[in-house]
């Protein structure tokens, strides 16, 4: 049960629940402050009140006579920030004196925004603005959030995945209004602190258990999958080893392989590396295209296939194809090194693989339509890959 407050909007009484009323009061107070130097301040405020009242009417009916917090939030969002119209005379004066036009132009736009939103702020961030957005949301210095992310990533690589997901899930702040919303508009300090605390508590209360559970589930799932794969790999290695030992004479040390097998593995390694690198790059490119353009080279996911499911299927498909190739590569390393897990063949192959990933990425960036645009969209126009 919520307390209801009656508000007088331009001569008509409206019943609004308490939190909604607070939001409305915040909006009108910010508007009043922004219009303080406007000769028509009173008239504009009356017009705004009337417009808000009209919007309330659309939510009210015979069996509903209270405007809820959510409805009020929607109304205020529709109303938009009250901007005092800049005085063109002042602007022209600024222009002729060679100053930036916006600096002297009347009163700065005033944000109503009792609501704070989680946006990415690429212009303020180092990469995608994820940490900057989170920092703005919780009103802390971005350095702390970055440190936290880096430390957590060092402890468990899982957090890199969280960052990647956030990069795609958090909307990018595009307009100045978005940026203001990302910070939330302070209309008085105490209110901002209360709201941030409340939001944070709500968020913790609602989401933390589920997020944590999902995270552990995912981790266990991935862990099990990895263990199984490793099991399969060592099984294959063992059987390959036993075969080679069986066919060759006791001249060889246990664990070593024949010269023929070594040469064969040496030839197949670059091929396997090329396949693996191509797979990785095409997976990343597809992921990027799916998330940014909602389509992959003309193919748009069917309506019954939600975006998250399409992405999940893509990840699974990549894992299914890439995992066996990885196992064969590891086995080939062993053969090419002459029986040991580490050796010059592995080192050369690693360098080759890195070079191939670089080359393929460059090719994809250059020749696949939409990739460069998607990257620019994601990281802001200023960020261009170093290889261009």
């Amino acid at each position: 049960m919520l307390k209801v407050v009656t508000a007088n909007l331009n001569g008509n009484a409206y019943q609004i629940d308490e939190t909604g009323f607070e939001a409305l009061r915040g909006y009108l107070e910010t508007a009043r402050a922004g219009l303080a130097h406007n000769p028509d301040c009173v008239e504009i405020l009356t017009d705004l009140e009337q417009a808000i009242g009209d919007k309330c009417d659309t939510f009210l009916g015979q069996h509903k006579n209270v405007v809820s917090e959510a409805e009020m939030a929607q109304i205020l969002r529709e109303m938009g920030p009250v901007e005092s119209a800049p005085d063109p005379a002042a602007a022209a004066a600024a222009e002729t004196s060679g100053e930036a036009q916006t600096t002297t132009a009347a009163v700065a736009p005033v944000q109503p925004a009792p609501i704070r939103r989680l946006f990415r702020l690429p212009e303020k961030g180092m990469l995608g603005g994820v940490c900057a957005g989170i920092a703005a949301y919780f009103n802390v210095d971005v350095v702390w959030i970055r440190l936290l992310f880096v430390l957590l990533t060092l402890v468990t690589g899982f957090w890199l995945l969280v960052w990647l997901v956030a990069l795609f899930v958090m909307p990018r702040a595009v307009t100045p209004e978005d940026v203001a919303l990302a910070h939330g508009a302070p209309f008085n300090a105490q209110d901002v602190i209360n709201r941030a605390k409340k939001k944070y508590d709500e968020f913790r209360g609602e989401h933390e258990p589920t997020v944590r559970r999902a995270a552990t589930d995912l981790k266990h799932g991935v862990g099990n999958f990895g263990t199984k794969l490793r099991g399969m790999g060592s099984g294959m290695r063992r059987s390959a080893q036993s075969r080679s030992i069986g066919t060759h004479t006791s001249r060889q040390q246990p664990g070593s392989v024949s010269y023929g097998a070594q040469v064969l593995a040496g030839i197949s390694l670059p091929v396997l590396s090329a396949v693996s690198a191509a797979l990785l790059v095409s997976f990343l490119a597809l992921f990027l295209l799916l998330t940014s353009a909602n389509s992959v080279i003309g193919w748009i996911p069917e309506t019954w296939l939600p975006m998250w499911l399409a992405l999940a299927l893509l990840v699974v498909a990549y894992l299914v194809v890439a995992a066996p190739i990885g196992i064969v590569r590891r086995a080939s390393h062993r053969y090419a090194n002459g029986g040991s897990q580490f050796g010059w063949a592995s080192a050369l192959d690693a360098i080759l693989w890195l070079a191939l990933v670089g080359a393929f990425s460059w090719a994809v960036y250059q020749f696949i339509p939409g990739v460069s645009e998607a990257l620019a969209e994601l990281f802001g126009a200023a960020a261009r890959p170093w290889f261009v």
């Binding site: 406007n38 000769p39 028509d40 504009i44 417009a51 529709e78 938009g80 920030p81 901007e83």
Partner: protein, 107 residues
């Protein structure tokens, strides 16, 4: 930054010109103007429109009259004044001039 973003400040600056065009045709109240603009690139909100209209009225480009409505309170219907007509014509000419300049520079 896409095209729409690049032109954001320009669209903002053009809003007055756009509004003069909108009310040039017929008398309108604010909700109708918003509805008309909503489907264009010049979509805007009450918070922007009311202060802008009040300034345009101070500059005697537009004026309003009260009209009764079937539902609810009377509404302010905005229309162009004689000065507004003249200003709109000047702005249209200037817009044409800018347009042709840009086209010619591209040749």
């Amino acid at each position: 930054m896409n095209t729409r973003e690049k032109f954001l400040p320009i669209r903002k600056g053009l809003l007055e010109f756009v509004l003069l065009n909108v009310v040039a045709g017929e008398k309108l109240y604010v909700a109708e103007m918003l509805k008309r603009l909503a489907v264009t690139d010049f979509a805007t909100q009450e918070g922007t429109l009311y202060p802008l209209l009040s300034r345009m009225r101070r500059e005697e480009l537009v004026d309003y009259e009260w009209q009764e409505s079937e539902s609810g309170p009377p509404r302010k219907y905005y229309k162009l004044t004689a000065t507004g007509q003249r200003t709109l014509q000047e702005l249209r000419d200037y817009w044409q001039q800018i347009n042709s300049t840009i086209t010619e520079l591209g040749r």
